[in-house]
C-alpha cells in the first residue's frame, strides 16, 4: 500500500527527485523555490546524496555540468532570474549531450518582477536552453502529485537521450499542499554510462565537449540533436484531456491556468456547453498534432495563460490558422478566475 502524504509542491518535487535516484543537488536561494533547496539540504544528504548551496545560479549549473559529465543524477532549481543566469550552462549541457533536471518555479517578471505565480517563462523554457540550436525537454505539472512523479520520467529520459530536462512550475504550485502517493526509492541501478569522465582506467579516454570548430562537424552534430528531439516527440509527448467528446470549443492551458480552466470547463459542461480542455504536460515536445485535430473538430480555440501570450504562439503554430483562436491572459502574478474563463468560453461559443 503506497504511502500517501500531504506535501507542499516544492517539497514534492524534491522528494520525487530523491526517490527517482537523484545523487546531487545544487541550488541558490530565490523565492518561491527556497523550500526545494532547504528540503534537499536535509533529505538528499540523509539519502546519501550530495547537497551544496552554490555561490550563484551560474555556479550551480556548472557544478551540475561537472556531475553530469562524471555520471551523477543531478538536479538544480531556481526561478526566472536564476534560470536566465543558467542559460549558457544549459546550452553547454545540450551541446555536450549531458543529462540533468532543472526546476523553474516561475514568478512574475520581467526583471525582479515579484514573487507571485506567472507563466511568463514559457519562451525561456521552450525557446531557451541558451544559445544555439538545441532544446531542453520541458514538462509542466499541474498538481503536487505531478511535481512528485515528473522527476522520475525526466531523469530517465535525460539519461536515455543525454539531454537536459526541465520541470516548469510556478509559485502557486510550489506552495500549495495536496496529497501525494509516494512510490518509494528507486530500486533498480542507474543506467550504465560508458561515456562519462571518471578517470580512464582500462578504457580509452572520454572527452565531454561542445566545441566543434569545423562548421561541417557542428552542423552534423546539430542534426544529431534534431533527430534526438524528433525521437523524443514521437514517443514522449504528454498531455491530458477533459470534457465533451464532441467539443464545440477547445480550451487549452497548462499548469495553474489549466486547473482554473478545468473548473470553468466543468461549469460550462453543466451549462450545456460542449467544452473540452487539452492540457499539455510536455511543452517541448508540444502536442501539436492532437491540438490541431481537436481544434479543427471544435472549430474554435480558447487559450488561457498567465502571460501576455507565449504558450499562445505554440498554439497558433499548431493550429496553422485553420480555426479562430481567442486569448485570455493575465500577468505580473495575477491569476485568471474560473468566472472570467467561463465568460470567455461562452463568448467563444456565441461568437462574440
Amino acid at each position: 500500500m503506497p504511502e500517501k502524504l500531504l506535501m507542499k509542491g516544492n517539497e514534492a518535487v524534491a522528494q520525487g527527485a530523491i526517490d527517482a535516484g537523484c545523487t546531487h543537488f545544487f541550488g541558490y536561494p530565490i523565492t518561491p523555490q527556497n523550500q526545494i533547496c532547504e528540503y534537499m539540504s536535509v533529505h538528499l544528504r540523509a539519502a546519501g546524496g550530495v547537497f551544496l548551496q552554490a555561490e550563484s545560479e551560474i555556479s550551480a549549473i556548472n557544478m551540475t555540468y561537472g556531475v553530469a559529465a562524471a555520471g551523477g543524477r543531478v538536479m538544480t532549481s531556481s526561478s526566472g532570474p536564476g534560470i536566465a543566469l543558467k542559460q549558457e550552462g544549459l546550452s553547454y549541457l545540450i551541446g555536450a549531450e549531458l543529462p540533468c533536471l532543472v526546476v523553474n518555479m516561475v514568478r512574475g517578471g520581467p526583471g525582479l518582477g515579484n514573487i507571485a505565480a506567472a507563466q511568463s517563462d514559457y519562451w525561456l523554457a521552450t525557446r531557451g536552453g541558451g544559445h544555439g540550436d538545441g532544446h531542453i525537454i520541458v514538462y509542466a505539472p499541474a498538481t503536487v502529485q505531478e511535481l512528485y512523479d515528473l522527476p522520475h520520467m525526466a531523469f530517465d529520459l535525460a539519461d536515455k537521450y543525454r539531454n537536459p530536462t526541465m520541470i516548469l512550475g510556478d509559485a502557486i504550485l510550489g506552495q500549495m499542499m495536496e496529497p501525494v502517493e509516494m512510490r518509494g526509492r528507486r530500486q533498480e541501478p542507474l543506467p550504465e554510462k560508458p561515456w562519462t569522465t571518471t578517470g580512464a582506467k582500462g578504457r580509452p579516454r572520454n572527452i565531454v565537449n561542445s566545441l566543434r570548430i569545423e562548421p561541417p562537424e557542428l552542423e552534423q552534430h546539430c542534426r544529431k540533436l534534431e533527430a534526438k528531439y524528433q525521437q523524443i516527440a514521437a514517443t514522449g509527448t504528454l498531455w491530458d484531456e477533459y470534457g465533451a467528446d464532441d467539443p464545440e470549443v477547445l480550451v487549452t492551458a497548462y499548469g495553474t491556468s489549466a486547473r482554473v480552466c478545468r473548473s470553468a470547463v466543468s461549469q460550462a459542461l453543466e451549462a450545456g456547453i460542449r467544452a473540452r480542455l487539452l492540457r499539455p504536460i510536455s511543452l517541448f515536445p508540444f502536442p501539436s498534432a492532437r491540438l490541431r485535430e481537436l481544434a479543427e473538430q471544435a472549430g474554435k480555440v480558447l487559450v488561457v495563460e498567465m502571460s501576455l501570450g507565449q504558450f499562445l504562439e505554440d498554439v497558433r503554430l499548431a493550429v496553422e490558422g485553420r480555426v479562430p483562436i481567442r486569448f485570455h491572459g493575465r500577468t505580473g502574478g495575477m491569476v485568471p478566475t474560473p468566472e472570467d474563463v467561463l465568460g470567455e468560453i461562452r463568448a467563444a461559443v456565441e461568437g462574440t
Partner: protein
C-alpha cells in the same frame, strides 16, 4: 641507448595549437610529467577553459571536460564530489580565472575543494587576439587599452595568489615562472606539490605560472621570456604563499 627525454605518457600525439614561444606547451609538458611521475593518469580528469588552451582536451591523455568560460572550478567541484578518488585539475588562463571566473575560484578555494588549479597568467587575452586582462600590467598596451593600462581608468592588476591566500580553504598556493631553465625546474616542483596536496586530501591547490604571449605582446619569443623576468616577476613575486613549509 638511454632515453634522456621523451613525450610524457599523459600527453597525446596530437599537435599543440599554440604560437611559437608560448609557455602553454612547456606548462602542458610539466603537468603531464607530474601526472606520469605520480602514476595517476588513469584517475585523472582535467577541465579545460575558454581561451588559448580550450583545445587542451586534445592534448592531455586523460578524461577531459571542456568548461564554459570561468566556470572550471565549479565543474571540477561537480566531478570531484561525484568521483572523489579521481585526480581533478583545472587549467585556466587569466581572463578565465580572474575576470569572469572570479566567483568560482574564490568559492572553490573557500570551500577547500580537493582540486588542483593550474593558472596560466600571461597578462593578456590571447585567444581573442590581445585585449586587456585583469593581470595586464600598468602601462602595458593591449587592443582595449592601446595607450597602456591606466590605473585611474582600468584599475590595477589583481595578484591572485595573494588574494586567495586570505582564505582558509587553500592548502597550497604558489607562483612560479617558466621563462628560464632555473624557473622551469622550480615550477615543476610546485606543480608536483600541488597534485600531492590533492592526493593527501589537504585542500585546494593552485599554481600560478607566469607565462609569455609573444604574439600579443608584440615581441619575439626570446624578448617575451625576458619581459616575464624583467616586468612580471617584480609585480607578481614568485614563491609559495600557502603550504610551502611542508
Amino acid at each position: 641507448m638511454e632515453v634522456v627525454f621523451q613525450k610524457p605518457q599523459a600527453l597525446t600525439e596530437a599537435r599543440l595549437s599554440y604560437c611559437p614561444g608560448c609557455s602553454h606547451g612547456l606548462i602542458h609538458r610539466l603537468v603531464a610529467e607530474v601526472i606520469d611521475e605520480l602514476g595517476v593518469r588513469e584517475r585523472t580528469v582535467g577541465v579545460c577553459p575558454v581561451g588559448c588552451s580550450v583545445f587542451a582536451y586534445e592534448n592531455f591523455d586523460c578524461d577531459m571536460i571542456q568548461a564554459s568560460h570561468g566556470r572550471a572550478p565549479a565543474v571540477a567541484t561537480g566531478v570531484k564530489r561525484t568521483v572523489p578518488e579521481a585526480v581533478v585539475f583545472t587549467y585556466q588562463g587569466d581572463g578565465d580565472l580572474i575576470a569572469i571566473g572570479t566567483t568560482e575560484i574564490v568559492h572553490a578555494a573557500a570551500r577547500g575543494e580537493l582540486i588542483t588549479v593550474i593558472f596560466v597568467n600571461n597578462a593578456v587575452y590571447g585567444m581573442t587576439r590581445g585585449q586587456i586582462a585583469p593581470t595586464t600590467l600598468p602601462g602595458q598596451p593591449t587592443t582595449t587599452c592601446p595607450e597602456g593600462r591606466n590605473p585611474r581608468l582600468e584599475g590595477n592588476p589583481i595578484r591572485v595568489c595573494e588574494l586567495l591566500s586570505s582564505l582558509q580553504g587553500p592548502a597550497y598556493i604558489a607562483r612560479v615562472a617558466v621563462c628560464a631553465p632555473k624557473y622551469v625546474i622550480r615550477a615543476k616542483r610546485s606543480i608536483k606539490k600541488a597534485f600531492q596536496t590533492q592526493l593527501e586530501g589537504k585542500g585546494l591547490s593552485l599554481v600560478e605560472v607566469l607565462s609569455s604571449c609573444p604574439s600579443f605582446w608584440g615581441m619575439t619569443p626570446v624578448e617575451a621570456m625576458h619581459w616575464v623576468e624583467e616586468h612580471m616577476i617584480p609585480y607578481y613575486p614568485l614563491g609559495e604563499f600557502v603550504g610551502g613549509k611542508d
